[in-house]
């Protein structure tokens, strides 16, 4: 009896400690974001005099008005298109590639995986110039289509790496019984492995989605005219040779983050579903 009471107390205490830590972390995590939003409502001089941490005098909406009446909407659409297409392509072909590496036994399996891991080590800046030349050669330069290839390619190593390790955890029995039932590898892939990899795919969607949404280097190298720029480049409009209109930039950045937050709320929902569905029971 005493042991159970002791356990219950221990459990309660640990819960309290856990909640306190969780709240602490929450504050740390969202405070900068809160300040970003607050500062977007300030007027430039106000921010410079009163500092970043003061509350805005009034909700100065002009920053948002200026941002939205600029090219923001077209940047936004470009980013969305690039993101959606890149993600769809990436997730599909990464899954395709991870399946054999996680499951099949063939001679080159390990070397190929090692090669892919090695490719994770590439700093992306060294691919800038060759990719730039290629984009020009193929007539893709200064269009958003030029971005999709590099984005997908640069994300492949990490994605395959993560997905392979997830797929390895899927129990063999499922596959084996399907084989016995006469399913081909392709059927197994589409009908079983893909669905079972949902948590992994969701993780990848989130991770790569954010990277692509915020990606800057390729975007500025491969595009030129304003109509082809993506969101991260929007910040330019408010940076001159010697000065920065910081609150405007904060407004731009807030507007850039919001879609991601909304998307995440929906995507993580899928993650939860994957967790509680007991999918592995298949």
């Amino acid at each position: 009896m005493n042991q159970i009471t002791k356990n219950r107390t221990k459990s309660r205490v640990s819960w309290v400690v856990a909640i306190v830590l969780a709240l602490l972390w929450t504050v740390i995590a969202i405070l900068p974001f809160v300040f970003m939003v607050l500062n977007s409502f300030k007027e430039k001089f106000e921010m410079l005099t009163k500092g970043v941490f003061a509350l805005p005098d009034a909700l100065y909406l002009d920053n948002y008005k200026a941002v939205l009446s600029g090219n923001f909407v077209s940047f936004f659409l470009n980013s969305v298109i690039v993101l959606v297409i890149s993600l769809v392509v990436l997730l599909f072909i990464a899954a395709c590639a991870s399946y054999p590496l996680a499951r099949f036994k063939f001679k080159l399996a390990n070397p190929v995986l090692s090669l892919i891991v090695a490719c994770m080590s590439i700093p992306i800046h060294i691919t800038l110039i060759p990719v730039f030349k290629m984009s020009k050669a193929w007539g893709l330069y200064d269009s958003i289509w030029a971005l999709i290839g590099p984005y997908v390619a640069m994300a492949i190593p990490v994605s395959v790496f993560i997905l392979t390790s997830f797929m390895r955890e899927i129990p063999r029995e499922i596959e084996e019984s399907a084989f016995i039932d006469g399913c081909s590898r392709y059927q197994i892939f589409f009908k079983m492995i893909l669905p079972l990899s949902k948590p992994g795919l969701s993780t990848l969607a989130i991770y790569n989605g954010v990277n692509i949404w915020n990606e800057f280097s390729f975007a500025y190298t491969l595009t030129q005219s304003a109509e082809n720029r993506t969101l991260p480049l929007a910040v330019w409009e408010f940076q001159g040779q010697y000065s920065m209109n910081t609150p405007m930039i904060m407004a731009t950045l807030t507007l850039t983050v919001l879609p991601m937050i909304i998307l995440f709320i929906f995507a993580q929902d899928k993650l939860v579903k994957g967790m509680t569905a007991g999918a592995v029971k298949g």
């Binding site: 410079l48 470009n78 009908k191 669905p195 304003a226």
Partner: protein
């Protein structure tokens, strides 16, 4: 399954969006212009060739520049419009404005893939020379001498556009020299007078420190801001010869004047003349200006673009600020009219030849024409043209211009003048001087070593 369906839906959605975007792509741009943008700008990658009907060649001159802010865009726009409207050459200018930070990289990428724009700007000095040596800037000496420019432009500006005796660029935009801006109200409050010598300056600083005001607002994370102090001190201690000789390889950066400059800076750091954590403050984020506006700092040594900057931030506050040139060393025979800065700030170079070059050059001459000059002055710039002082209305700007006219010579900022590999060593060691993590002697040694290495490699 579900995931596949979702993906399909997403793809269809994407296709619809693309279709919509393309459909309104044509009309969409004009509604999306930020105020101040004029026709010659970003969206005009497909500006049609004009007058010359019979020509099948692409009569488009591609121009790259760093004017992304309203003011600058307006200036570029005005000149571009003037050119496009009046030229007989059959060429039109289409321009791309690129943000300052990433401009140099983008230019490098373009050049290295054979896509260098026809006309582009630089800040002269080391990088421009590199472009010239690599074949991306054409000499324009003849065109230049045959035009009105030698009469219109300031001699100093023309000098800065030269490399090995040929003219390679057309200077424009604004004269930017460094000097000390100070808060007149604070000076009045504590009965401070504008210092004429360095020791007077130090006395002023000491008083300010006593009153718990930081003398100099300095944000030295980007390193070039602190370099201003170094350059001015070195110039006051030894004139310009030590520097020029060091670069040429006949002198050295371990010369006395440089060491003394470093020592003075460290003395000043110890005395509290600079804000705490000076090396962590970010200039672009406005952390130096913040100190000025909050009136916790009284002065700042900055380039004269600060006038326009402060005016933009707050006209009211800008009215409180006045300017004086960096004071002379007591009892020194060194010419104290020497200024550190740039006579132009924007130098237009040309990567085209023959007809195109002539047309592009014609465009560049627009910036020294009356109308455009007046426009620029209105917006707070000081175009490097003769007689510009007569057009100036702002008091502070007039004082600055006076100093410019009195200057016996103007030395370009070290980090622009020097080849980039040496410039970066200078900036890094200078920052460490401020951080008290290197002695001036050590810094000078590294600086000199970098210069020697560069000169040695150049020989190869």
């Amino acid at each position: 399954m579900m995931k596949k369906m979702k993906k399909l839906a997403v793809i269809i959605l994407a296709v619809i969006m693309v279709g919509t975007l393309m459909a309104c792509g044509g009309s969409g741009d004009s509604s999306g212009n930020t105020p101040g943008e004029t026709s010659g700008n970003d969206n005009s990658a497909d500006v049609p060739a004009t007058e010359n009907v019979g020509s099948d060649e692409n009569k488009e001159i591609v121009l790259w520049h760093v004017g992304t802010e309203e003011m600058d865009l307006a200036i570029w726009g005005k000149a571009i419009d003037a050119f496009n409207a009046t030229t007989d050459s059959g060429y039109t200018i289409s321009s791309v404005s690129i943000q300052n930070d990433t401009y140099k990289e983008k230019l490098v990428i373009a050049m290295s893939s054979g896509e260098c724009p026809d006309v582009y700007t630089s800040w002269s000095g080391g990088p421009m020379n590199e472009y010239i040596d690599s074949g991306y800037a054409q000499p324009i000496t003849e065109l230049f001498n045959n035009s009105e420019l030698p009469d219109r432009l300031l001699d100093a500006a023309i000098e800065q556009s030269k490399y090995k005796d040929d003219v390679y660029a057309v200077p424009m935009m604004s004269i930017s020299i460094s000097g000390i801006y100070y808060n007149t109200e604070i000076f009045e409050e504590y009965n401070l007078e504008v210092p004429k010598t360095i020791s007077e300056l130090e006395a002023v600083c000491d008083t300010l420190v006593e009153k718990q005001i930081t003398p100099f607002a300095l944000a030295n994370a980007p390193k070039w801001t602190g370099s201003m102090y170094f350059m001015n001190l070195a110039a006051r201690y030894g004139g310009l010869e030590p520097f020029q000789e060091a670069v040429a390889g006949t002198g050295t950066f371990e010369d006395e004047c440089f060491i003394k400059a470093g020592e003075t800076i460290q003395k000043w750091v110890d005395k509290g003349y600079f804000p705490e954590g000076v090396n962590s403050l970010n200039e672009d984020d406005g952390q130096a200006r913040q100190l000025l506006y909050q009136e916790t700092a009284a002065m700042t040594l900055a380039g004269s673009w600060y006038s326009g900057l402060m005016k933009q931030d707050s006209e009211e506050f800008a009215a409180k600020m006045d300017w004086f040139p960096f004071p002379a060393e007591d009892g020194s025979l060194v010419d104290s009219s020497i200024l550190i800065g740039t006579v132009g700030d924007c130098f237009i170079s040309f990567n085209c030849t023959d007809e195109k070059l002539e047309a592009a050059f014609e465009f560049a001459t627009k910036f020294s024409e009356e109308e455009v000059v007046d426009f620029m002055v209105e917006l707070g710039k000081i175009p490097p043209v003769k007689g510009v002082e007569n057009k100036l209305t702002d008091e502070t700007t007039k004082v600055i211009m006076e100093a410019v006219n009195n200057a016996s010579s103007i030395q370009l900022w070290y980090d622009q003048y020097l080849p980039p590999s040496v410039a970066s060593v200078h900036l890094e060691t200078c920052q460490e001087i401020f951080g008290l993590t290197k002695t001036p002697q050590e810094a000078a040694k590294e600086f000199q070593a970098a210069m020697e290495e560069y000169n040695a490699e150049k020989e190869e």
